[in-house]
Subunit: 110 residues, 2 copies
Amino acid sequence: MLEKTTRMNYLFDFYHSLLTPKQQSYMSLYYLDDYSLGEIAEEYDVSRQAVYDNIKRTEAMLEEYEEKLLLLQKFHERAGLLKKMKRLLLEENPSKQELLDTIVELENLD
Amino acid sequence: MLEKTTRMNYLFDFYHSLLTPKQQSYMSLYYLDDYSLGEIAEEYDVSRQAVYDNIKRTEAMLEEYEEKLLLLQKFHERAGLLKKMKRLLLEENPSKQELLDTIVELENLD
């Protein structure tokens, strides 16, 4: 569950602008502010089931966007390469060639 | 017009997966393969106006996606920073600090 929460937080971060305001509110309360379905239902004066359905649908949409655009996957790949460059730069005599190769890998990610 | 074509090619590259198959076909023929509206209309046995309307709508959609996700803008920013790092690495004694600062700038783009 924690793993799913982390993933949904990431996906929401990348794709929230593609969601409706209501979807954004529910997801934000549920995943960022840790509200329960019941609390969100009360807040918006709708049924718990309606909130649940909306969130499930939104989760599926976020996964679909990720399948199509791979923003989260590329973010992780990019972060790994940047970390590698930092590590290289901490060495006494960093290999310029290795740094240049990593830059090319970063360019090819886009 | 050339500038618009370049921009549409970029936007199509980033967001084509969010378009319908028909939108993808029309855009690809028009912008990548340089077909005229009339030629696409003939190919699909529809009116020239239908093709025109579809392409105009798709162009607006692509701009909307860019407004929300900024993938093209970030691509250009990232490309500039990677180019800067390459230039730094070509110097005799590259500044580690400047390279590390640029890596942080890259991290903050995501």
